[in-house]
Subunit: 226 residues, 2 copies
């Protein structure tokens, strides 16, 4: 094996439940495979708009299938997903712009907490049917993630700054440069070339490419906070 | 384990390369898992129309990704897929209606050859960049599949009969009744309930549901004619 770990980037948005599955699986494999996992919080709305893609759930049969598919995957992958009571309102009307700006602020100024803040936001929208758009919601997620009160207030302020808005746009554009049309998008840098995987169902292929073993979505006790 | 095998239906169309992967993997696992595999040749165009779905390749970034994804999957799953030189013409302008009527005629009158005829048609469009719409093309595929000359002529005639047209519509409608929005569609009948899987990327989950082991896409020497 090479001396340095392979960089694996995960572009995601907490509005996307398949991203949550991809995120938890990769967080587990960070300790199993010889990879350097880099979280890239981005804005799914921008990727859909920039690629001209439409949400898959707009086709009724696909929406029905995805509901069932997510239920089965969540159970098998041990990610506590339970759809919001009104998924269309949660995903399309309320959306995730303020939440992803908050995660971006965390990533810029307290990157050691990006993982846990993201997880707490997913838990709100995709497990507890809670809001992720108001300052109070973001504050609660930040508190649960372990951000000290003063740091949290600073980050909530930064989340609406021009710097953070620009950074989120930049990372979203980076995903589009990799020809994204949805999330999660996994970019594995193998032999200096980016290999792109869309979705949370190509891990066996990713393992093959990395020269690692796929041991299922729950490879071992992971110490995650789920 | 139960005394009787679990019925697993595969709805497919030879115009769909992901269906080819699903088909070959399930044909291999027929000898590994305790299942009774039932091939259900159907018409993808009817499913797209009936569900209001649009072909994923119409979004440029998605088309680029699928091209790469198919290449990687084909190599990993050992299915000799090489896109047609003009995929839009092959898939949308020429389509697969006459091909799937021919497969339906085979399924009705020589079902022991449905598998091999389907495989030869996939090989034409998705491996050799050959036509699958003219009577000559269908004849060549039938010959390669091992149909005797007289039987082949009879089936080519039946392929344009009302009986066969109706049967193809019926099977396509059956897929739609399972809320299909694309192919492949896998229907596993577990404890009297149909469990639906779309695509060729849920085999690990299917194995889990069946109480079987997923051993990767090429579990052993399979004796397939690929």
């Amino acid at each position: 094996m090479s001396a340095s770990k392979i960089l694996v980037e995960l572009f995601y948005d907490v509005v996307s439940p398949y991203s949550w599955i991809g995120f938890e699986v990769l967080c587990r494999y960070r300790n199993v495979w010889d990879i350097d996992l880099k979280l890239r919080p981005a804005f799914l709305g921008g990727v859909m708009h920039g690629s001209g893609n439409k949400p898959p759930g707009l086709v009724p049969n696909k929406f029905l299938y995805m509901t069932k598919d997510l239920q089965r995957l969540a159970s098998y992958c041990k990610v506590p997903i339970q759809g919001p009571s009104n998924p269309f309102e949660a995903m399309f009307e309320k959306g995730s712009l303020s939440a992803m700006r908050f995660v971006t602020a965390v990533e810029l100024h307290s990157p050691e907490l990006t993982e846990q803040v993201s997880r707490e936001l997913w838990r709100r929208i995709w497990s507890k049917d809670q809001d992720i758009t108001t300052p109070e919601s973001l504050q609660e997620a930040g508190e649960k993630a372990g951000l000290p009160a003063d740091q949290l207030q600073r980050l909530l302020g930064l989340a609406i700054s021009q710097e953070v808005k620009e950074k989120l746009k930049l990372v979203t554009q980076e995903a589009l440069n990799h020809k994204a049309f949805g999330f999660p998008l996994i970019v594995a840098h193998v032999d200096g070339r980016p290999e792109i995987f869309f979705g949370s169902d190509r891990f066996e292929l990713l393992a093959h490419l990395l020269g690692e073993k796929w041991l299922g979505p729950v490879p071992q006790e992971t110490g995650s906070k789920l």
